[in-house]
Amino acid sequence: MKKRFTKRSGIYDEVNKKWVIILLGLITFIFIIFTIISINYAVNQVEKDNFIGQNSSESSSSDISNSDNLPIEVSFIPTITEHDPVEYSYFTDAYFIGDSITVGLGNYSIINQSNIVADIGLNLQTIDTKKIINSPEGLVTALKSLQFKDPKKIYIMLGSNGISWQPSAVMVDKYSSFIDQIKAQHPLADIYISAIPPVTNAKQKSDARFANSKIDEYNLTLLEIAKEKKVYYLNSSILKDEYGNLIDLYAEKDGMHMKKEAYQALFEYYSRHTKKD
């Protein structure tokens, strides 16, 4: 009996041993699966935490900016994408500062004379000192004259008179300083820097001081100023022929000043490149 029992218990032992092994295998399998799932979850959680962390740090900095009324830093693009032309009324509160080229804009009645703040021969050397505009206080400088007006847009085209004799670095300094003064005087106005026009091929050949390569180089520095000062930049491509020279039909006989057709083209370009409100 005892032996039978022993025999039986041996069978039981064998059966139990099998089940124990199966059970242990199952537990091991479940453990491995669980471990894998846990590791996966943990990795996902870490990634998720990192993502939330980034977002929360952005939102927190944004919150800080907003709470402090600080502008959120966005890279400024000074060039403007072409759009349908604006109505002429857009320019009623726009003022145009410049030299003889800008004088032409008023003389040809492209822009109302009262919106022209320009004088023949004006350059970056004389912009702060030369009294050119009649005002309630008599003859005053370009900058001073804007004190008596309420410009919403200010267009500047300066440099044609200095390109032949003024060092580029001096012109850049003067230009930057002038922009600073205008911005201080009219912080809400949109400021546009206009590239200076090219000259005809005949002009650059007869007088290398006015080479278009030099003019293009100067205009590139104006683009840099525009970026730095966060003002808009208008190029002069509309006035160029396929070689980058002033279109002959647009030029007066000196190869530098322009006829009415050139101003009409320039105004069309201005109308199609305005800051969108």
């Binding site: 003389n107 004379q113 021969g121 008179n161 007066e252 000043h257």
Partner: protein, 158 residues
């Protein structure tokens, strides 16, 4: 006695002639249309891209008081690159015409000052510019053909 009579007769005729010529001249000048004359002179002369400046804007260039002007016309070069200019004005009397004459001289000085450094190649036009006076009319011509323009002007101011 005979000689005395002759002198008197000559003097009388001279006075009569002067009176008539003066009256005729005055009548003729008063008929000149300043705007039309300027327009025709510009059309018949070699000026580069000229524009007719609005009366309201003439003050910007000449600093004239409207009370000194009865009629006025100003053409300037539109491109701003040349000193070419044609100014014709008519004043009510000699005194006012004299003031305008001084305004023209001042304008000439400003143009010289502007173009001396800016466009020295154009200075010859200012050196050869002409300021004319016919009665109470003042005329200022800046052109590369100023002599030709003067001839043209004289057709109107005989």
């Amino acid at each position: 006695m005979k000689t005395r009579i002759n002198y008197c007769q000559v003097l009388f005729f001279i006075i009569i002639i002067l009176i008539f010529s003066s009256c005729n001249n005055k009548k003729y000048l008063s008929d000149i249309d300043v705007k039309k004359t300027s327009e025709e002179v510009i059309a018949n002369s070699l000026f580069p891209s000229m524009i007719d400046v609005d009366i309201g804007n003439i003050e910007k260039y000449y600093e004239i008081e409207s009370s000194n002007i009865e009629d006025v016309s100003l053409y300037i070069n539109a491109s701003g690159g040349f000193p070419d200019e044609l100014f014709i004005s008519k004043s009510e009397d000699k005194e006012k015409a004299d003031i305008i004459h001084k305004n023209i001289e001042k304008r000439k000085e400003i143009l010289i000052e502007t173009f001396r450094d800016y466009q020295p190649d154009e200075m010859y036009k200012l050196e050869e510019s002409q300021i004319l006076r016919y009665g109470n009319y003042n005329i200022f011509i800046v052109s590369e053909n100023s002599d030709e323009v003067v001839k043209e002007i004289k057709k109107y101011f005989k």
